[in-house]
């Protein structure tokens, strides 16, 4: 899929540099081990964190296009994101520019101090890279996650809307397939594609608490030791809002589990629910 020789051009996004630094650290280590390091872009811009769907709202596509332009000016065509939200926003904005030449023209006219964006960059989520590196991943597993019961959680941004989904929107298996390589006991749970409540966490915590309770209660019923995901906002919601729940299931980035199975420790620092107990068999 991606051709960059010595690694992948990487767009971090703001959250990866602050709240979700565990995700960045573990992803970098995993990719390094796989021989395809993530190379951070020379310059990049906040994606905006929400994709504006209004048909006449070009203003809110600028940030994403600027980032594409940075990739283009660095001479790259493939761009990798870790955060689901960034993935979704960049992918949708980029698609819009590719499909609507009139909007691209308006955009380029507005960005008159910069070179034109040619619409050639492709946006990928890190899970898509893993899907193409199954053999390499398998070879690196030194400490299989035997007996660890993992419930996957996709949330919305990797799968919806359909035209930017990284997998089957209703029945995704991309995480389950990776976890299988790591030796974990993967549980397919019907709540895995439901919304966690997203940004309601800012001013309607009650909505998120209800959503999270449903998700973790079902995970507990299915015998989950941990929940695996990739979206920093879902991670925050599922982790933080369990404070009012009877359940206390650690919520991990998939790459933290990958690192563990590769015999490395990465991340595991900023979790509200300490994952060390659940992972003790696999930690040194």
């Amino acid at each position: 899929m991606i051709q960059m020789e010595d690694g992948y051009l990487y767009y971090p996004g703001c959250t990866l540099k602050t709240k979700a630094s565990d995700y960045e650290e573990s992803s970098k280590k995993v990719m390094e081990a796989l021989g395809k390091p993530l190379v951070e872009m020379d310059n990049w811009y906040c994606c905006g964190a929400v994709q504006s769907l209004a048909t006449d709202d070009i203003m809110h596509q600028i940030a994403a296009v600027r980032t594409m332009l940075c990739a283009q000016e660095q001479g790259e065509r493939e761009l990798v994101t870790l955060c689901d939200m960034c993935y979704n926003v960049l992918k949708q904005a980029n698609k819009r520019m590719k499909e609507k030449p009139d909007e691209l023209e308006t955009m380029n006219e507005f960005l008159d101090e910069d070179p034109d964006y040619e619409g050639q960059v492709e946006v990928h989520h890190i899970f898509e890279l893993f899907r193409d590196m199954k053999d390499e991943i398998k070879k690196l597993v030194k400490k299989p996650l035997d007996g660890l019961n993992v419930v996957t959680y996709y949330g919305c941004m990797l799968l919806r809307p359909n035209h930017v989904s990284i997998d089957n929107t209703e029945d995704p298996m991309i995480m389950e397939d990776i976890l299988e390589l790591l030796g974990a006991n993967t549980i397919v749970n019907p709540k895995r594609t439901e919304c966690c409540g997203s940004y309601h966490t800012v001013n309607r915590g009650d909505i998120v608490e209800n959503r999270v309770e449903e998700i973790v209660a079902r995970a507990a019923e299915d015998g989950a030791d941990v929940i695996a995901l990739s979206c920093p906002l879902c991670q925050f919601n599922l982790d933080y809002h369990q404070r009012v729940s009877d359940h206390k299931i650690p919520v991990l980035y998939l790459t933290e589990l990958m690192a563990l199975s590769f015999g490395m420790e990465a991340g595991l620092k900023k979790h509200k629910i300490n994952p060390r107990g659940a992972l003790k068999d696999f930690l040194e």
Binding site: C14, K17, T18, K19, Y45, C46, M59, I62, E113
Partner: protein, 233 residues
């Protein structure tokens, strides 16, 4: 004689009114030539204090331009307005309570509106100092105090960025916070500083200072012009 004078005169418009002023003046001196007296909107006259923000347009141009009145030459057909003050909100904080090492993002905590940045770059285009304003706001958004402080180092606090921003960001106050945080938490303590403070307290300059107080203006000027710089290093 009259002809030559005529050649060197240009027309400017100050708040809608036309004035004929000599070519080659700065906007600031041109306004004074036209009879205005600055009571606000003027400070150092040397491009350092940022008090003299001015907005203008050229006759045939649809774009609004921004600059420092003391640093920009008047041009024929300029429509000018002076901004005495930008009333942008500045957050209050105790510098001892905002250690960037202890929080995810202190800059975002105090100035949450930076999350509204859409990367339009209007701020950078407004900046008379050619600072990459948008880029330092973006750095702030990801909690990078060091980069925010570095990129904003030349800021004079004229406020033009904030006036133009569609997201109501208070760029220059944010940047000042970043530079203060860098000074307080990121930069190493300097042993030279302590030495210097001790010297000052012991009165190393008292004698010289008292001599200067007795000088006339002309003596002072001469003294300033002949001053020597210590060698670096």
């Amino acid at each position: 004689m009259a002809d030559q004078e005529e050649q060197n005169m240009i027309d400017i418009y100050v708040m809608g009114r036309r004035y004929r002023v000599p070519e080659g003046l700065t906007i600031m001196t041109a306004l004074e030539y036209a009879g205005y007296k600055y009571v606000r909107g003027c400070g150092c006259r040397g491009g350092f204090c940022g008090a003299c923000s001015t907005v203008y347009r050229k006759e045939d141009d649809y774009k609004l331009k921004m600059d420092l009145a003391c640093q920009t030459a008047v041009e024929d057909g300029m429509f000018l307005v002076q901004l005495p003050f930008v009333p942008a909100l500045r957050e209050a904080y105790e510098i001892e309570d905002v250690d960037p090492g202890e929080k995810d993002n202190v800059l975002l905590d105090l100035y949450p509106e930076i999350a509204r940045c859409v990367s339009c770059n209007t701020c950078s285009k407004a900046c008379p100092q050619d600072i990459e304003v948008m880029d330092y706001v973006q750095a702030a958004l990801r909690g990078d105090v060091e980069r925010t402080a570095k990129l904003s180092f030349d800021c004079l606090h004229c406020g033009l960025c904030s006036i133009r921003c569609p997201a109501d960001i208070k760029h220059y106050h944010l940047a000042q916070l970043a530079r203060r945080l860098k000074g307080r938490y990121l930069d190493l303590d300097s042993s030279e500083l302590e030495k210097r403070i001790k010297e000052l307290e012991e009165g190393i300059y008292t004698e010289e200072y008292e001599e200067m107080l007795k000088m006339t203006i002309d003596e002072l000027k001469k003294c300033y012009e002949e001053r020597k710089f210590e060698e670096e290093g």
